[in-house]
């Protein structure tokens, strides 16, 4: 069943449309003398908010250490599957403050053509190693250039100073000296036998 919509009967002047047109013309003409509200983009920059979600980048901490431990949760959560991580073993440095972190990404790729800037990677990262930066200008001469590799991602992310330093605080604990004295394996004091 077609539905009949009751419409108001127009009076003579309204049916002429000319007054309505004239008022519209007046409106547009008046608008010409109002100032422009647009931004002159390359010279003027938009204000970037703190929670702006630009290109994701990896960050280093205050010691210049790469924070990512390649747990691959971002790769898991990424809706468009833009992230690909090749996990690897971090070099063993016994006296190093962060020697407990055994894992580091060997390769880290984010395909910026796939990225939808949802920010899930930042949200899920347990190490606070990946952040949505304020970088919004991405351009390249080829598709391959827009697949950001590890170097590019650290370039984008830069340095970040954190209040909580999970791994460092842990190593600075009272037990750490004792631990360093324990030989790695084959301890003769074998109490269990």
């Amino acid at each position: 069943m077609a539905k009949v919509v009751d419409r108001r009967k127009l009076n003579f002047w309204e049916e002429l449309y000319l007054p309505a047109i004239a008022s519209g013309m007046k409106r547009t003409f008046a608008q010409m003398f109002k100032p422009a509200i647009t931004l002159q983009y390359p010279e003027q920059r938009p204000e970037i908010f703190d929670d702006y979600r630009g290109a994701p980048g990896l960050v280093r901490d205050q010691d210049g250490r790469e924070k990512c431990v390649s747990c691959q949760l971002c790769e898991y959560i990424c809706p468009p599957r833009a992230i690909v991580i090749v996990p690897g073993e971090a070099p063993d440095q016994p006296d190093y403050d962060y020697s407990e972190i055994e894992k580091a990404p060997k390769e880290f790729y984010i395909d910026m053509l796939r990225c939808i800037y949802c920010g899930y990677c930042e949200e899920i990262c347990p190490e606070q190693a990946i952040f949505m930066t304020d970088l919004y200008e991405l351009n390249a001469g080829s598709r391959q250039e827009l697949v950001h590799d590890k170097a590019k991602l650290y370039d984008v992310g830069g340095l970040r100073v954190d209040a909580i330093q999970k791994w460092k605080d842990k190593n600075a604990s009272p037990g750490s000296e004792e631990r360093k004295n324990v030989p790695p394996s084959g301890n003769p004091g074998d109490g269990a036998h």
């Binding site: 013309m25 422009a36 647009t38």
Partner: protein, 350 residues
Amino acid sequence: MNEFFAEYPLVFTMATTLAKIVLFTHIGLILAAYMPWVERKVSAWMQDRVGPNRVGYAGLGQPIADALKFIFKEDPVPGHVDKVLFTLAPALTVIPAILVLAVVPFAPAVSLFGQTAQMAIADLSVGILFVFAFSSLAVYGITLAGWASNSKYPLIGGVRSAAQMVSYELCLGLSVVGVFMAAQTLRLTDIVELQVDGYWNMFTQPIGFLVFVIAAFAETNRLPFDLPEAETELVAGYHTEYGSMKFAMFFAGEYMAMFVFSCLVAVLFMGGWDVPFMSNESFAALGNWGAALGFVAFLTKVLLFLFFYVWVRFTIPRFKFDQLMHLGWKVLIPLSLLNILWAGLWNMPS
């Protein structure tokens, strides 16, 4: 010199005609080239934007940059088109528009070397008929473009254009009948001179003026009557398949047509080169300065009407096709007939 031209007036006529052709067509072409800039600027102001401002001062280099881009772009011809008509169509939209300029009087007559030169390229006694004859040809360009493109959107655009042109050609013609009834001549120069001494036709025949202006919008495919290229429905209508310079010719054709119709509105209804409160005698008294003044007045009117074109475009939305037909056949034709009656009564010998 004076003796030479007095002895050989044909040489004078040829020389001045040549000069007029060069001068007037270039005025038309340059205006057509800069109209897109005007259009973009005005639309930007109306929409609280800035508009083109990168190429040259205030973006004035933009039309040149656009033209260069059009020239250097690849000229694609899709494989499924009728090649001859496809190439011919853009030319058919530009050429009639330029030809109509031939009869438009730009200024009062100028005297040079003891000779008098009319400031229309060809001051034909059947000026208005010439105008209608050639401006009607423009529909062929659009319809042929739609046909030759051999794909659905251009074809729909072409068909719409044909229907629209036929409908509005009629009321365009009828609305002018009142004008030459009042002038009792078809010569455009005479029509202007009559208005200079008397009243502008837009005041004596307001209905005819209104109908002519509306029909002029329809004839040039301008909003609110741009159904042949309605981008929201037809991609780009009749020029969907066109690119590069061929597309630019459609573009130029549209703006040339706008310019021509602005000239016609000025000539037929707004007193041509007339400046209010001046008569033909006062123009003649000023001599060639009077001609220059008339020329400036004429151009001012044309430019104002061109601005009006743009202004309307960014104010009134597009009609639906049934509304377009309704307006053309059921409203404007009766109105223009009414105008003829009005003109007859107005000019009745008392």
